[in-house]
Amino acid sequence: MIEGREWPIAVRSVEVSVPVAPITDVTGYPRTRVFVRQTGTLVGSVDIWNGGGPISATRLRQAIAGGLAWPLMRRALEGQLGERHEANPNAGARTSGEAAMRPMSVSVVIATCNRPDDLRRCLSSLRALRPSIPLELVVVDNRPAGGATPAVVREFGDVRFIEEPRPGLSYARNAGFMAASGDIAIAIDDDVTVPQGWLERLVAPFSRREVMCVTGNVLPVALDTEAQCRFEAYGGLGKGFEPIEAGPDWFRAWRTAVPTWRLGATANAAFRRSIFFDPRIGLLDEALGAGMPTGCSEDTYLFYRILKAGYTIVYDPAAWVWHRHRVEQRSLRHQIFSYSKGHVAYQLTTLAREGDRRALVRLLYSLPRVYAARTWERLRGRSEYPLPLIATEVLGTLAGPLALWRARRRVRRLGPSLRTQPHAVSVESPVTETSGS
């Protein structure tokens, strides 16, 4: 394979149900990442080393066919087999019964901290949607002292605006969830933009009553700087192009800790708002998440409780958003440190709060084994993963318990999120009637 500089990478998306057009505006980029859509849903991505030149339609077609022949073929076959299935009159009865549901209203909750440009882009993309369902926008200012957010919100008119001065992403999102009035509350980050059709795809699985949460893919909108490319190469925020459905069986099937971190993130996640008033589930844990010493994992813990309560989480990669990775990132090592720390804090939380002993297996067996295996592979020259990064992960793991203790202490000082209970949700939702059983 001919390779060039690792970055910058141009990011483009291509729809393959119509004849593909050449990509001509990638001058200066040694490489182009093409996200491939087929009738609106996402199939996968291919990288083309274009060396700063344009990409002809033939080359684009060949690269896509070469990289994604199987998924494209599978989808084509699924479409046909599905059509045949739909044609069967007996099959129709079940689906129509399932689909009978009350129209939903949706609130999008955006927590922001003094990033007016990101927020403006985000709100513009939401305003550009042509939603088929009622849509409410809620912006939570997590750093009111910054002062830049209210002006942006005013530009967009009909947006609910609230302030949560207590620092912490979980505090901010919780405040937004409580202020929202929709049946479904969608959490997105302020640095994402949404494509057409996103909303409909993200809420579609809620037609099934046991689904309490739907997450979607998070794709990079630009990979122009080294920081952005490194972040994406380390895993980014996306969780792949294959749908995942996690229910109570999935939750129980794991002998080591449940990998809820594979199910998505609150950068793009929709929740049935009734779960926040369910005593077994509740709101995001304030001690976890960005803005706290733990750094992350508030979403994975919420997913954990949803699954434990017997509900289902659907990861639908077709409901993707575009995320603008930070142009200037604090070093990758810092980020990896933070992830490892948050991960341990999450494991300890499930152990302490939920009594899930699988966390111990993860902490005392799986994680050390992963680190040892990675080191061994590296020393034998079979992997590219640098040793300093492995050391960073180990250090982050060791720092986890202390971080969790400090975060808990801070939350005790700041107090819990307010839990107001608007009548519209708790009484009328068809979900709460059946969900307990």
Partner: protein, 410 residues
């Protein structure tokens, strides 16, 4: 035995038994080569051949069909029924000159011109030109006169690159496609070359797949094993990154293709000069003119496309002795090209020197060591010949230059 070509959108042929050498089947779909299969020497029926093909080449078939189907999603049954025509058939629009440079090889030339006559391309857009290089008699002229529509030009001074330059001067096409007199072009060759130029407007050079024309003698099989000319069935677009020396990644110009199957836009020669007359067959360097031009295309910031659908069958040397001298000449030609490019582009010198040394170690020295350890199937004298040739190549370009200067040409 000739190389057999099997086109999947047509009924498969039966493979006859083969008495000498080996037989390979080049499998193609809508003209695109998918790969080779080697049926047993006893031959194969069409159904046996199709089983072999599906065994080896399912994925390339699926990949091609998915590429075709991207515009119109086919149904399951349609996928199994391969359409006779490719939906992406390009319309020929460019005027192409096919240039054959030859020297005293009338028998080879006849086969070569027969193949060119069979090319499927609008006649009004096709020109065929034979350049006779320093002929000793009139045989070539007489052969050419028997082919209507083929032009004859004579380049009296010896040197393949001089003959190529004569072809460029004499030609009228926007594209000049070169092939050798010992090559047999595929009927779709010109169409594939022209399509690649149309699809990649920034490409200045298109090379293609060179398959063995026959595999009858041990020497011919050995040449394929030694490395051959085949560069795979995947299309590549090479374009150098402007921010680093081109030689860092693209000095190994042999992988882009070979002079038996290369085409350029005339505009490139207008802007960046003709072939270097001090290089290639007929001069002390014995080769490297094609490689130097590939490197020049990339160095000047243009794209080079390797288009496997543009297929040329090449008649490898039949005798072992000829093979050995060709392999020595490969070594000489390659290092002559390295020296020439280092002289022409001072900023590439370090990169080219690094590559030249690394290549000598990787390709020559390591093979030689393996051979000494008895773990190499290629005859040692071939490897040794290329090792020696590589050293000769380091000063042959200088010799060639001085000789040109002596003849009063720079």
């Amino acid at each position: 035995m000739k190389l057999i070509s099997a086109e999947l959108s047509r009924p498969l042929p039966a493979i006859p038994p083969c008495s000498i050498g080996e037989q390979w089947v080049l499998v193609r779909l809508h003209g695109e080569p998918l790969g080779f299969v080697t049926p047993p020497a006893a031959g194969a029926s069409p159904s046996r051949l199709s089983a072999l093909i599906l065994d080896r080449l399912s994925f390339p078939i699926v990949r091609h069909l998915v590429g075709d189907g991207m515009a119109a999603t086919g149904t399951l049954t349609d996928l199994a029924r391969i359409p006779r025509e490719c939906p992406h058939e390009p319309r020929p629009a460019l005027r192409v000159t096919v240039a054959v440079c030859t020297r005293n090889r009338a028998t080879h030339l006849r086969t070569c011109l027969d193949a060119i006559q069979a090319v499927e391309y609008p006649r009004e857009l096709l020109e065929c030109l034979v350049v006779d290089n320093a002929p000793e008699d009139d045989t070539t002229r007489n052969v050419v006169s028997r082919y209507p529509g083929v032009r004859y030009a004579c380049e009296p001074r010896p040197g393949l690159d001089r003959a190529r330059n004569r072809a460029i001067v004499e030609s009228t096409g926007a594209i000049i496609a070169f092939t050798d007199d010992d090559a047999r072009v595929d009927p779709l060759w010109v169409r594939a070359v022209a399509a690649a130029f149309e699809e990649e407007p920034h490409a200045m050079c298109v090379t293609g797949l060179v398959v063995p024309g026959e595999l009858d003698t041990p020497a011919q099989l050995l040449f394929e094993r030694y490395g051959g000319f085949s560069r795979g069935v995947n299309r590549f677009v090479f374009l150098a990154d402007r921010q680093e020396p081109v030689g860092n990644r693209y000095a190994g110009a042999g992988r882009f293709g070979t002079g038996a199957n290369m085409a350029f836009r005339r505009a490139f020669f207008d802007a960046h000069g003709l072939f270097d007359p001090a290089l290639d067959v007929g001069t002390p360097t014995n080769g490297g003119g094609d490689l130097e031009m590939f490197f020049r295309v990339l160095k000047e910031g243009h794209a080079l496309v390797y288009e496997p659908s543009a297929i040329v069958g090449h008649l490898h040397r039949r005798e072992y002795r000829e093979l050995r001298s060709q392999i020595e000449n490969n070594g000489i030609g390659f290092y002559s090209y390295i020296v020439r490019s280092a002289r022409a582009y001072p900023r590439e010198r370090a990169a080219l020197a690094r590559f030249g040394a690394a290549w000598w170690w990787r390709w020559n020295a390591r093979r030689l060591l393996r051979s000494l350890a008895g773990r190499e199937s290629i005859p040692r004298d071939l490897i040794f010949a290329e090792c020696v040739g590589s050293f000769k190549g380091l000063w042959r370009y200088g010799t060639s230059r001085r000789r040109l200067a002596g003849e009063g040409e720079s």
